[in-house]
Subunit: 319 residues, 2 copies
């Protein structure tokens, strides 16, 4: 309801909308409208109220509040339930806990700042307060555990498309779980799962995007960038997150029907295929030509001796 | 230490062992020996104490107490930490919680009775109090999630071998996760996992064995049996659990070094291969000839039209 009132004011742009008008449109009493307006104000919205003219939205908080995410969101399910935290250890950890407690598919956890953000294999992920998108999405897919890496591919496709559509920047996918712009990393995906042998209980897909990050620690400044740095102006986090959720839902629906379509789109958006690469993992190092990915999300490489190998994970460097 | 004192008494069989003797063997004071003896008595051990003769073990509780499991156990790590419950919802749930809290590989959860024991896909598992083995083992294998089904194969091999060695009964494996004797189910395995895309955080392997179960509910009485019913006499649960843990550790070590060896042993112990089978799953039904299993634990079938299909899970009925 709060989102509906927000939307009603937004449609009026700089003009006033009367309490009567809102109350009729949404079928609630004027007293209820007033209560919701007060609620929005407490969340950081600046709303002017004039007798006989009504309400006018003066400023919206630059925060990924549930109202901000839901107002205007066109998904069927993704992002309808939002757990918002100004600061949290890790959105993935929080989402896993919610999933264990039975949270529905499509539930998201969003934070302005992560104090213990993680990348693959427990690596730290820098989360500057208020400048990025740190979101974790709960899924309950009808897949077997071996297919879970497909969800990382799906999220990568959705992320690259959302960035491209909103900013026009040529975001590309680096296998297995990163998005790059202009040779530098702008986003990462961390897919975690709880399953029995042949059934997935839940998957949490965590996505971190450097949106308006203005600077990076020295050790990553050569390899990391943000959308704002690349575009030369700040990017609306709310719009990007809404678009991301819409793309995620779209491709996730396709995943159950036609995996080939996702692989095909992934191939169009990746910089990894067709390149000579080195893959490093705790257990091995392989050099070779990246030929393709398969239905389990694995990378198919041809080594220098012509041998074909299938790689499930690792750090890839392009040569 | 309690286990050492228990072992010291056990080596004397029906004879007495003096407090002095125990205290010297184990390097503890006689007062400490007395404290441990009292502790054992509280756990249900009947221990006679005579002045100038010493202690004599008269009776051991018919329970899978940590002391019972650890006394004489020859594993390096498996079963050294035991969480014991007279009654619990599900040993797998408890083990998962312990694993999340950082419990070490080899930790086990044992219960005399499960009030919410589960089989695959959340099916109920009948757990008659004090008559079966309900154990869950925490593992932290260096495998990728797609290989986790290998742990079910490993547990099946260990379980079949332990039953064969202790009882002489011809236990066989039915893909994917059951043990049968004489056409009836005696044990089931439930493997659950927490992972990220390419790294397993932990696996819990739950094993339920009908050991001394004397009767089954009508709906499963035609398809289930127990070791005691098959052998015509009761089976020592402690010995079977110890042997199971030893076999599990043995084959688990081989798993990291030589998966082929496990597949080879599995093929010797299964009744599924070479048979015409029907596989039922929520998503499909397939009929065909069971040819082999592969390195992901999948079943390879040849259908009536000569097509070869790879099946990750399902309920198999032999035709």
């Amino acid at each position: 309801m709060k989102e509906d009132i927000l939307l009603a004011m937004l449609t009026k742009a700089d003009d006033y909308i009367s309490g009567e008008d809102i109350s009729q449109r949404l079928g609630v009493t004027r007293a209820a409208v007033w209560k919701y307006i007060e609620d929005l104000r407490r969340s950081g919205y600046v709303i002017e109220a004039l007798p006989r003219r009504g309400y006018r939205l003066v400023a919206r908080p630059d925060k990924l509040l549930p109202t901000e995410i839901r107002a205007g969101l066109t998904t069927d399910r993704f992002g309808h339930v939002v757990h918002y935290f100004p600061q949290i250890g890790s959105t993935n950890d929080q989402a896993r806990q919610l999933a264990r407690q039975g949270a529905a598919e499509g539930t998201i956890v969003v934070a302005e700042e992560q104090t213990a953000g993680r990348g693959r294999r427990g690596r730290a992920w820098v989360s500057q307060p208020g400048s990025g998108i740190f979101v974790s999405l709960i899924l309950r897919p009808n897949l077997i555990p071996a297919q879970a890496p497909l969800l990382t591919l799906t999220a990568a496709v959705a992320g690259a498309e959302a960035i491209r559509q909103l900013t026009g920047l040529p975001a590309v996918i680096k296998w297995p779980n990163d998005l790059y712009v202009d040779g530098r990393k702008v986003a990462g995906i961390l897919t975690e799962m709880s399953s029995e042998m042949d059934t997935i209980f839940y998957v949490v897909v965590g996505i971190g995007i450097n949106v308006n990050t203005s600077s990076f620690p020295t050790e990553v400044s050569a390899s990391a960038t943000s959308l704002a740095l690349e575009q030369g102006r700040s990017v609306c986090r709310r719009q990007l997150l809404q678009l991301l959720l819409e793309k995620l839902e779209y491709w996730y629906q396709i995943l159950s029907a036609d995996q080939d379509q996702i692989l095909e789109r992934w191939r169009q958006l990746t910089i990894t295929l067709g390149k000579r690469v080195s893959v490093y993992s705790p257990n091995f190092t392989v050099h070779g030509l990246a030929l393709d990915i398969d239905h389990e999300g694995a990378l198919l490489l041809e080594t220098e001796t012509g041998e074909k190998v299938k790689i499930f994970s690792g750090d890839v460097s392009l040569r």
